[in-house]
């Protein structure tokens, strides 16, 4: 309505720097997961983009297609930068995951929840701390919240109460070698944080 919308932006150098920093952080997270599961984690090249809320929907759709998923989210905040980590698990992963974790007993909803929380605390924690260390920001993490079990990606997006119109999104797809274990970790920084975090990036690029 005649009001200028301030759009955050990202240069190619900044995107490259985010990618490299994520690369290092997700490597640290993968190392911890690999040691926990005694398996090799395949590391992709992370995707870094400024996206709108509707595009987030598409990013999630893209990652998990039509399969049922379970998801956890966890907020983080520090030095004027805030965001949330969203870990989306393909439900087909739980059988192999239970086996690797030597989980005894029936694989019911409760057991799956336990596995989901174990893996998410390793992946989210290590990734956030890894990024924080490189940017010299100490992030405090909130409590993990289960967004849903055995649901469709649509439901996840609906349940999220997103206040922003645009977000810096970092997408990481983790896969375990030779097994059917797939998950996506999304790091979403709030719109207000983007300028601040870009400053830290520029400092590194200088």
């Amino acid at each position: 309505m005649g009001q200028a919308i301030s759009k955050a932006s990202l240069t190619e150098d900044q995107r490259d720097c985010y990618q490299e920093i994520t690369n290092v952080a997700m490597g640290q997270a993968a190392d911890r997961l690999a040691r926990l599961l005694k398996a090799y984690v395949i590391l992709p090249i992370p995707k870094v983009n400024l996206i709108s809320a509707s595009e987030l929907h598409m990013a999630l759709e893209d990652t998990s297609s039509n399969d049922d998923v379970s998801a956890v989210c966890q907020g983080f905040i520090g030095s004027g930068i805030a965001g949330e980590a969203l870990l989306v698990f393909n439900d087909a992963s739980f059988a192999d995951l239970a086996q690797l974790m030597k989980y005894k007993g029936p694989l019911d909803q409760h057991a799956e929840l336990e596995l989901l929380m174990d893996v998410s605390s390793v992946l989210i924690g290590a990734c956030i701390q890894g990024i924080g260390e490189q940017l010299e920001i100490s992030f405090n993490q909130g409590h993990p919240v289960v967004l849903g079990q055995h649901c469709h990606v649509d439901d996840l997006v609906k349940s999220g109460n997103h206040q922003w119109s645009q977000t810096l999104a970092i997408e990481i797809h983790y896969q375990i070698e030779n097994l059917n274990i797939n998950c996506d970790l999304l790091l979403l920084f709030t719109e207000d944080s983007v300028a601040k975090i870009n400053q830290q990036i520029d400092y590194l690029l200088d």
Partner: protein, 125 residues
């Protein structure tokens, strides 16, 4: 004569970080490559007697580069510099003939330590 050193990484930020981490006063001639194929070309052209090699790269990854170096018996001392620090990754690259493995993010102290350990730096000093 300056030692030909190749820095092979798909991230321009990582290449810059690597170049900054080279020991001060080390007499080198640095070449950059943005993926494994470019890296191999540079090594074949004699521009990589010492190679700092990333693992996760498009076109051809670091594992592929190591395999090809071995296949063609290219004269390159490869130091893998990677964010993939899983024990398996380190094992695999050493089996493929990498001389050393350095965790990212790299700094000058780590680079100097490895170069000295393998006697690459002592000649220059």
């Amino acid at each position: 004569m300056a030692l030909p050193v190749l820095i092979c990484d798909d991230s321009s930020f990582a290449r810059k970080q690597m170049k900054r981490a080279l020991p001060a006063g080390w007499d080198v001639d640095v070449t950059f490559a943005g993926n494994g194929l470019e890296g191999l070309d540079a090594i074949r052209a004699g521009k990589g007697e010492v190679v700092f090699l990333d693992l996760t790269m498009p076109e051809l990854d670091g594992y592929g580069v190591l395999e090809q170096i071995r296949k063609e018996d290219l004269p390159a001392m490869v130091i893998v510099v990677s964010g993939d620090i899983q024990p398996d990754a380190q094992d695999r690259v050493q089996k493929l003939g990498a001389m050393a493995f350095i965790k990212k993010p790299i700094d000058q102290a780590k680079a100097t330590e490895v170069l000295t350990q393998f006697g690459i730096l002592s000649e220059a000093e």
